[in-house]
Amino acid sequence: MLVTHYFTIGNVSVSSSWIALIVAFVVAYSAVRVRYGKKYAEALSDAFFYLIIVWKLSIVITDVSSVIRSPLSLIYFDGGVVGFYLGLAFVAGKVLWDSKKERLTVEGVQALFTGAVAVQAVFQVMMVLLNEGQLVVQVVTVVAFALFALFYWIKGDGSLPFVWLFMAVHAFVAAWQPAGLVGTSFITTVLIGIIVMVVDRRNRCE
């Protein structure tokens, strides 16, 4: 969904995508905590924290000249889409490293995947609620993600068929949305799917 709305909180304007992301994280944290316990909920919040920090600080890589000219740029700006992917790559790297070192159990991967599903589903629904868009696209987005989240909560277990289904549901929704299959959120889902598959394969080989 496109960002069409900004909220003014205190002295700054906040993009609706930030609000959607924060709400999504709170819901995902609660869901993982209820189903998998505190340990995995904290693993999820660590991953989220790394993603945000790398995204925010990656302006050092994406726009060095601004930071040198005005160091406060670190506070005012972020690394944009490139920075977001860097953050995602960092989290993916950490998950793969933890799994290699056998610090990440099968249950841990399932918990993280459940968190990712919750973040994506709530983020998409929130973006529809906070922004303007074509009615049909909004309905498809909310219905598809709400149904999938519900189905996953009742039946889902982070096994591979559900990973594929998650990607297929998002592909279907993304096809309707303005950004299509090259939008950041769909690419994120695909990357999450790939990482889960790689870790799953590794766990099964051992």
Binding site: S66, W164, W176
Partner: protein
Amino acid sequence: MNKKIIGYAIAILLVGSMVVMMVKTSLDKTEPIDEYLIATEEVPGLEKGATPPDFELTTLAGDVVKLSDLKGKKVVLNFWASWCGPCKAEMPHMQKYYKKNKAKENVEIVAVNLTTAEKMGIEGVEKFIDAYGLTFPIPMDRDGIVMDQYQVMTIPTTYMIGTDGTIAHKIVGPMDEKKLKELVNNLK
């Protein structure tokens, strides 16, 4: 059993996605008449969709900038002062964006200087503009009237105005080139 059903669901969703993509590409060519271009009654105000107050101010070079003359262009209406930290961080981004996209995006940046709030006077503003090599019009709000009309409390404050002359967004706080680009692209 369960696996089989999920398999079917995945297949249906993927085929569905392809159909939607195909239909969308063929529909995109016949876009409906843009509803924003249909003349509607102007609503004065500072909210989204409202027409902001018109103003006429002079730049340091003596050029007159009148907001209503810019109708038909996308307008980035920025309010700033030379002592403001976030404005200093933002200005190079605006200049860079302006240089690259002025003609291409049918956009004008109007950076109103809050002259009544300046501590170093006109000379300080001149130095600032030279130091940052700013080429977009910088009208001087010498009486602080426009600042009041636009309810500028914190700077930088930027109003994003569409080609129909209505406000799309009010952004408080500095923007970098990426954000500016995204916001202008989404303006009608």
